[in-house]
C-alpha cells in the first residue's frame, strides 16, 4: 500500500514517530507517541478541530495487487473521479421537475428572475432532513426523490437545484466544498477535505454559487462559512477549481437610528432599523419560523426585547418575504426609566443596547468566530430641552485594527446631541493575539457606557 501520513499541527507538541517493519507479518508499523498534552478546549465558537489539534491525515494513494497498481486517491483528479462515478450512478428522472420549473419560470421576464424563482423555491420548500447512512453520505439523492419528498440534505438540495436550473435551460453544476470548519483544500486528495455540496451556475462567463441549505440567502450573496473556500465543480470527466469570493463586511450592514426627545423619565421618538446581507437573512429566517398567529407578537418582542421599559408602536416594515432588498423596520419607541432627575440636573442613560459592553475574553485559548462579518452602525440623536445645557461628553473610543473597528463618540450641533457607534468585525474572527488589545478596548467602551449624559439647568 502506498499511504502518505500527512502530519498536521504537530508544531509545539512533543510527538515522536517510530517506523518499523515486521517481517513475519510483512507490514510497516508506524507508532506515533504524544506526551504532555492538554485536553481539547471546551470553548464555543472555536475554529474546527482540523485547525487546532495535532492530527494525521491518512492519505491512501494506491495499492499493488498481483504486481498491478491500483490508484486510490493519488491526486485531486482521482478524488473527483470517484465523486463523479457516484454522480453517474444516480438514477435521475428530472422530467418529474418539469411542471414545477415551468410554473416558476413562465411568467419571469429575465433570466435572473427565473433563476431566483427556482433557487428560492428550493430554499423555501425543501426541508433539511438528513438520512446519511452508508453511501448516502457521499452520493446525492436523486432530484425527483428530493422533489417528491420535499426534504433532503445539502447534496439532495444541490442536486435538485442543479436539475431544476438545467430544465430551465441554464448551465448548473454540482459542486463539492469544505466549509470554513475544515482547514484543508483540494490540494490534498482526501475525503476529509470537504463536508458540503452546493450548486454552481455558470452564466455569461461568471460563476455564481447557490446553496439551498442557506434559507433566505439572496442570489449572489454567500454565507460566511463558504466565503474564501475552494470549490470543486463538475465539468464532465474533468473538474474546475474555483474560490468563493470573500465579501466585505459592509454587505451585512445593520443600522439603528433613533431620534429621541425627553418626556418625563423616558426617551421617546422614531426608530428606523435596516438590515442587509447576512444580517437580513438571519432575521428573515428567525421571523418566518413563527406560526402565522404569532408573527406579530414575535416582531414586537424582538423590538421591545420583552422589556417592560420599552414600548413600541406604529410598526411598519418592508416586505418580509423579499430576501433581496434592504429590510427595514420603522416604529415609535418609548424607553422608560432612561432619564433621572436630581435637583437641577437631568441624567440620561442614552444607550439601551450597549453592544459589546461585556464582551471580554478571559482565559480563552482559541480564536473566536462570529457567524458573519458584523457591520453595525447606530445613530442616536437627542434633543436637549429648553433651558438646559450639556456639561461634558464622555471620552470617545476609537480603534481600528486588521480584524476590527470600533468607533463610539458623542458630538453636538445646536441643541442636538448625536451619539454614534460603529462596530465592524472585518473578518468575522477575533484571533487569540487580538484578545489583549480587544479587552482593553472593551474596558474603555464599558467605561464610556457607564457614563451618563448630564444636562444642567442653565
Amino acid at each position: 500500500m502506498n499511504i502518505e501520513f500527512k502530519e498536521i499541527n504537530f508544531e509545539g507538541y512533543d510527538i515522536h514517530k517510530n517506523n518499523t517493519y515486521d517481517d513475519k507479518l510483512n507490514t510497516s508499523i508506524i507508532t506515533y507517541t504524544i506526551k504532555d498534552t492538554k485536553g481539547e478546549y471546551d470553548e464555543k465558537r472555536s475554529p474546527g478541530p482540523s485547525y487546532l489539534y495535532p492530527h494525521i491525515l491518512v492519505l491512501a494513494k494506491s495499492f499493488k495487487s498481483n504486481n498491478k497498481s491500483h490508484t486510490l486517491f493519488n491526486e485531486t483528479k482521482d478524488l473527483y473521479s470517484w465523486y463523479k462515478s457516484l454522480v453517474n450512478s444516480m438514477d435521475e428522472h428530472p422530467i418529474a421537475l418539469k411542471e414545477k420549473v415551468n410554473e416558476l419560470t413562465q411568467n419571469a421576464s429575465t433570466d435572473e428572475e427565473k433563476i431566483k424563482n427556482i433557487y428560492y423555491w428550493v430554499q423555501d420548500n425543501i426541508k433539511y432532513i438528513a438520512f446519511e447512512d452508508g453511501i448516502a453520505g457521499f452520493k446525492p439523492d436523486e432530484s425527483q426523490n428530493v422533489f417528491k419528498k420535499r426534504y433532503g440534505d445539502c447534496k439532495g438540495m444541490a442536486n435538485l437545484t442543479r436539475q431544476m436550473l438545467k430544465q430551465a435551460g441554464f448551465d448548473a453544476r454540482l459542486t463539492w466544498i469544505g466549509t470554513k470548519r475544515i482547514a484543508y483544500d483540494y490540494s490534498t486528495p482526501s475525503l476529509s477535505v470537504d463536508n458540503h455540496m452546493i450548486c454552481t451556475l455558470i452564466k455569461d462567463g461568471e460563476k455564481i454559487f447557490l446553496d439551498g441549505t442557506e434559507k433566505f440567502n439572496s442570489f449572489g450573496e454567500y454565507a460566511e462559512r463558504i466565503q474564501g473556500k475552494q470549490v470543486l465543480i463538475e465539468n464532465g470527466n474533468d473538474y474546475i477549481l474555483e474560490k468563493v469570493p470573500v465579501l466585505p463586511s459592509v454587505n451585512n450592514q445593520e443600522t439603528y437610528n433613533f431620534s429621541a426627545k425627553i418626556n418625563d423619565n423616558a426617551l421617546v421618538g422614531n426608530v428606523s432599523r435596516t438590515y442587509n446581507g447576512e444580517s437580513r437573512a438571519s432575521i428573515l429566517h428567525y421571523f418566518n419560523s413563527f406560526k402565522t398567529d404569532n408573527k406579530e407578537k414575535a416582531l414586537t418582542s424582538y423590538l421591545d426585547n420583552d422589556d417592560k421599559n420599552l414600548s413600541v408602536s406604529n410598526i411598519t416594515t418592508s416586505n418580509f418575504e423579499n430576501r433581496d432588498t434592504l429590510l427595514t423596520i420603522d416604529y415609535v419607541l418609548s424607553q422608560q426609566n432612561a432619564v433621572s432627575s436630581f435637583d437641577n440636573e437631568i441624567y440620561i442613560d442614552l444607550d439601551y443596547k450597549k453592544e459589546f459592553g461585556k464582551f471580554e475574553f478571559k482565559n480563552r485559548n482559541t480564536d473566536y468566530l462570529f457567524s458573519h462579518k458584523k457591520h453595525i452602525t447606530s445613530n442616536i440623536s437627542l434633543e436637549v430641552p429648553n433651558g438646559y445645557r450639556l456639561s461634558e461628553f464622555p471620552k470617545p473610543v476609537q480603534v481600528d485594527t486588521d480584524n476590527y473597528k470600533i468607533e463610539v463618540q458623542y458630538s453636538q450641533k445646536g441643541n442636538i446631541i448625536t451619539y454614534t457607534k460603529t462596530f465592524i468585525l472585518k473578518n468575522a474572527v477575533l484571533k487569540t493575539n487580538d484578545f489583549e488589545a480587544w479587552n482593553e478596548t472593551i474596558k474603555a467602551l464599558s467605561t464610556l457606557y457607564s457614563e451618563q449624559l448630564i444636562l444642567t439647568k442653565a
Binding site: 478541530p49 482540523s50 423555501d124 420548500n125 426541508k127 432532513i129 438520512f131 446519511e132 447512512d133 452508508g134 453520505g137 417528491k148 419528498k149 420535499r150 426534504y151 470548519r181 475544515i182 475525503l191 476529509s192 463536508n195 418566518n288 419560523s289 413563527f290 406560526k291 402565522t292 398567529d293 404569532n294 421591545d304 420583552d306 422589556d307 417592560k308 421599559n309 422608560q336 426609566n337 433621572s340 436630581f342 435637583d343 441624567y347 442613560d349 461585556k358 456639561s391 461634558e392 464622555p394 467605561t447 457607564s450 457614563e451 451618563q452 448630564i454
Partner: protein, 725 residues
C-alpha cells in the same frame, strides 16, 4: 470530530437500529381499521376565525379498545389506545412541525415496574390529502430513525394547504387477573384549535371504567353495540380554541377536562384486590366517588403499625413539656432514625463506595410508602393515647373534592387532635411536623375519624392555610464600595421560614451539616462507627470524605450562582458562605445562611463628578408585566412575604439624593409593595417588603395585584445620586 468519521458512526448505528422494527406490522390492518375506519364524511372546512392560525385540527379522535382473549379462565388482555389527528396545515411553521413525527417505542399503560419485559406495539399510520384531493399513503418505514427510546419519522411532500391525517396506535399486551391501568386527566384543548373531537371507548366484559367530564366538558354517552359482552361509549366536543394557559394557573381546576381510568378484574375475587375506586358492575361507568367508596377503600389502610422500640428508648432519655413538644420530638426522632441516620451510607452506596446492607442489614430501614410512615406515627399516638384523624385531600391543581374520581388524586395528611391541632404529611430530610403541602392548603377534604383505631366515620373538613408572614424570606445586605467605585463588597444574611424555607434547605444543606449533631442528640452511631473492620473503615472514611468534599465544592459554586442571580451582580470573587441555622427543628424556625463576596460594580454609572447608583436592582429581578390584562383566576403556590434590607455605607465626601423615589406604599387586599429609605450615621438604609396575601385571587382582583407588582418592578428601576460635596 471530522464529519466523515461522524457519518461513519451514524452509518453503523442506523444500519444496526434499522434492523429493529420501525413500526409493528402485526396489527397493521387492525390499526388502520380501528383508527381510520368508520370515518364520518369530512368537509375539511376551516372556520373563518381560525384562518390565521398555523394549523387547525379538523378532527381529533382518541379511541380505546379494551379487549380480552381466551375463555373465562384466561386473562389475555389488550389495552389499545389510538390517537388520530386530521390536520390542515396553513403555514410553513406547521409544515416544519409536522414534517417530523415521533413516538416513544415503549408503551406502558399499567403501573407495573418490570414493564420493560413486556411486548408493546406502536404503529404509526400517515396519509396526506393534497389540496387537489389526491390522497398519498406514506410508507412509514422508509425514512425513519429508531433510537433506544424514540422513533422519528420524516413525513414527505408536505405543502401549505395540505391535510395530514395520522394516527399513533399503541397496543399493550398483558396476562393478568387484576390490572389497574394508569389514569389520564386532560383538558380538552391542545396547542392547535380543534374543530371536532371525539373520545371513544370499546370495552369487553370485566374491564371497569371510571370516567367523568368537568367544568363544562360534554358528558360521555353509551352507544348501541352488536354484542352484549361489548360496551361502546363516546364523548364528543367541538369548536375547541387552542390552549393558552397563563402564568399562575391550574388548567384542570377550571377548564373543560375529563378524567379516565380503566381496570381489569377477572372476577369478584380480583375486583376486591384491584386498586382504585372500581364501579360496582363492569357494565356501569363510575362517574363519582361516594363516602361509601372512601370507607370501603380506606377501611384498613390507616392503622397503628410498627416497632416502637427505638422511639420508646429515645423518650427514656428526654422529656417534653406538652403534647406539642412531645409530638415534635417524636417526629424529629423518626426523621433521624428512619431516614437521615442512613443518608451518609446512601450517598456512599450510590457512589459505589460501600454496601449499606452489610452494616445495617435489610430489615425496616426506611418507610416504603407514606402510608407506612403515617401508620408508624399512628402507632406512636396510640401508645401515648393521643387522638387523631386522617385527612384525605385532593391537590388544588386538579379540582375540588366533589369531583374526585381517581384514587391517585388523593393525598393523606395525619391530623393530631391536640388542643392546637398538628399536621403531618410527609417525611423527608428536612421536613417538619406542621408542614402541609401548599397544594393541599385550604382545601375541603375528607376527614376519616377513628375509634379504637378502627375507621369509624367520614365527614368533610378544611385544611388550614398558611399566612404570608409565616412564609417569609428576609435578606439583609451590607454594602460598601472600594475607592474608585469599581467594585462593591457585600455581606448578606439570608433567612427563610415556612414554605419559603423548604426549597432552600433542599438546595443548600448537605447531610454533614447536621448529622453529627443528630447522632449526638439521639445517641445513635454513624455508618463509619458501625464498620467493624479497621482497614475497611479507614478506606471508606477516606472515600466518603472525598465524596463529600466534592459535594461541598459543587455547593459553593451553586451558591455563588444563586448570589449572582438574586442580586443581579456579576463577576463575583472572594466568595464564602456559612450556614448559621439549619431551621430543621420546627416548621416556623428560620433557615439562615450568610454569604460574603465582592462583585463588579455594574450598578454605578459615572455622571461627571457624581455617580448614579441603580440601587433598586439590588432586590433582584421582579415580575415585569408587559400585558396587564388577564381573564383567569390567579393560583399561587402559597401566600408569602419577601423582605429586603439594604444598608449602604455612604462613601466619604458624598451626599445622597433621590430618596423620595424610594419611599413607596402600595397596599391592598391582594398584597403590597412597601419601601422605606433613611439616612442615619452615614448609612443609607432601605427596607422593602413585598407580600402576596393569598394563594388564590379571583380574576376581578387582578388589577389590584398589578398595582403592587408594577410598584415592585418600578422600584428596581430607581436610582440614587451620590453627589460629590
Amino acid at each position: 470530530m471530522n464529519i466523515k468519521s461522524l457519518l461513519l458512526i451514524l452509518f453503523l448505528s442506523i444500519t444496526y437500529l434499522n434492523s429493529a422494527q420501525v413500526t409493528s406490522t402485526k396489527y397493521l390492518e387492525e390499526s388502520k381499521e380501528f383508527s381510520w375506519g368508520n370515518d364520518p364524511a369530512f368537509n375539511d372546512e376551516i372556520p373563518d376565525k381560525w384562518k390565521n392560525e398555523s394549523a387547525v385540527i379538523i378532527y381529533k379522535n382518541i379511541s380505546y379498545h379494551l379487549e380480552k382473549f381466551g375463555g373465562i379462565s384466561s386473562a389475555k388482555l389488550h389495552y389499545i389506545k389510538s390517537t388520530r389527528k386530521r390536520v390542515k396545515l396553513l403555514d410553513k411553521a406547521a409544515i416544519d412541525n409536522f414534517s417530523e413525527l415521533s413516538f416513544e417505542n415503549q408503551y406502558n399503560p399499567t403501573e407495573r415496574m418490570n414493564a420493560y419485559m413486556k411486548k408493546s406495539n406502536t404503529i404509526l399510520g400517515i396519509k396526506i390529502i393534497k389540496s387537489n384531493g389526491k390522497i398519498i399513503n406514506v410508507n412509514v418505514s422508509d425514512d425513519a430513525v429508531v433510537t433506544e427510546e424514540v422513533t422519528k419519522v420524516a413525513v414527505p411532500n408536505l405543502e401549505v394547504g395540505d391535510i395530514i391525517d395520522y394516527y399513533i396506535y399503541k397496543l399493550d399486551h398483558d396476562e393478568s387477573e387484576s390490572v389497574s391501568y394508569k389514569p389520564e386527566e386532560h383538558t380538552l384543548t391542545e396547542s392547535y384549535p380543534v374543530v371536532d373531537f371525539k373520545l371513544y371507548i370499546e370495552a369487553r366484559d370485566h374491564f371497569f371504567i371510571n370516567f367523568n367530564s368537568y367544568n363544562g366538558s360534554p358528558e360521555i354517552k353509551q352507544l348501541d353495540s352488536p354484542k352484549k359482552s361489548i360496551r361502546r361509549y363516546e364523548m364528543s366536543a367541538s369548536d375547541l380554541e387552542k390552549s393558552d394557559f397563563p402564568n399562575w394557573f391550574y388548567p384542570l381546576a377550571e377548564l373543560p377536562c375529563y378524567k379516565l381510568q380503566v381496570y381489569f378484574a377477572r372476577s369478584n375475587r380480583y375486583e376486591k384486590i384491584t386498586s382504585g375506586f372500581l364501579p360496582e358492575e363492569h357494565t356501569i361507568i363510575k362517574k363519582e366517588v361516594t363516602d361509601e367508596d372512601i370507607i370501603t377503600h380506606y377501611k384498613r389502610t390507616f392503622k397503628p403499625y410498627g416497632n416502637l422500640g427505638p422511639i420508646e428508648k429515645y423518650f427514656k432519655q428526654t422529656s417534653a413539656k406538652n403534647y406539642q413538644q412531645k409530638a415534635t420530638k417524636a417526629y424529629n426522632f423518626i426523621r433521624h432514625y428512619y431516614l437521615t441516620r442512613l443518608l451518609e451510607a446512601v450517598y456512599g452506596s450510590e457512589a459505589k463506595i460501600l454496601n449499606p446492607y452489610e452494616v445495617y442489614g435489610s430489615n425496616g430501614l426506611f418507610f416504603q410508602t407514606r402510608v407506612n410512615f403515617i401508620n408508624y406515627y399512628i402507632a406512636y399516638l396510640k401508645d401515648n393515647k393521643i387522638p387523631y384523624e386522617v385527612i384525605l385531600g385532593k391537590n388544588r391543581y386538579d379540582g375540588a373534592i366533589e369531583d374526585l374520581l381517581l384514587s391517585r388524586n388523593l393525598e393523606a395528611v395525619l391530623k393530631i387532635k391536640t388542643k392546637k391541632p398538628l399536621y403531618i404529611s410527609l417525611l423527608s430530610k428536612h421536613s417538619n411536623i406542621g408542614y402541609i403541602p401548599p397544594t393541599l392548603e385550604g382545601i375541603n377534604a375528607y376527614v376519616l375519624t377513628y375509634k379504637k383505631h378502627k375507621l369509624e366515620s367520614i365527614k368533610k373538613g378544611e385544611l388550614p392555610v398558611s399566612i404570608a408572614e409565616n412564609n417569609e424570606s428576609l435578606t439583609k445586605m451590607d454594602l460598601s464600595f472600594n475607592d474608585d467605585f469599581t467594585t462593591i463588597n457585600v455581606v448578606r444574611n439570608n433567612a427563610y421560614k415556612g414554605h419559603s424555607k423548604t426549597d432552600k434547605q433542599d438546595e443548600i444543606l448537605l447531610v454533614r451539616d447536621y448529622i453529627n449533631a443528630e447522632h449526638k442528640k439521639y445517641k445513635t452511631k454513624s455508618y463509619l462507627e458501625l464498620v467493624k473492620n479497621k482497614k475497611l473503615k479507614a478506606k471508606q472514611e477516606n472515600e466518603l470524605n472525598a465524596l463529600f468534599e466534592k459535594l461541598e465544592t459543587k455547593r459553593k459554586e451553586k451558591l455563588l450562582k444563586t448570589a449572582q442571580s438574586e442580586t443581579d451582580l456579576e463577576n463575583l470573587t472572594n466568595f464564602s458562605f456559612k450556614i448559621l441555622e439549619t431551621g430543621r427543628e420546627n416548621f416556623n424556625d428560620y433557615f439562615v445562611y450568610e454569604d460574603v463576596f465582592t462583585a463588579k460594580n455594574n450598578f454605578m454609572k459615572k455622571a461627571g463628578k457624581n455617580y448614579i447608583f441603580e440601587v433598586g436592582k439590588l432586590i433582584g429581578g421582579q415580575i415585569s408585566l408587559k400585558d396587564k390584562t388577564r381573564d383567569a383566576n390567579v393560583y399561587r403556590d402559597y401566600a408569602r412575604t419577601i423582605k429586603n434590607e439594604i444598608n449602604i455605607n455612604i462613601p466619604e465626601g458624598y451626599t445622597v439624593s433621590g430618596l423620595d423615589k424610594l419611599n413607596i406604599n402600595i397596599t391592598n387586599e391582594t398584597g403590597a409593595f412597601l419601601s422605606v429609605a433613611n439616612i442615619e450615621d452615614g448609612k443609607l438604609t432601605i427596607a422593602t417588603h413585598k407580600t402576596y396575601a393569598h394563594n388564590f385571587e379571583a380574576k376581578e382582583n387582578w388589577p389590584k395585584m398589578v398595582a403592587f407588582l408594577d410598584a415592585a418592578y418600578q422600584f428596581t428601576q430607581e436610582k440614587i445620586l451620590f453627589k460629590k460635596i
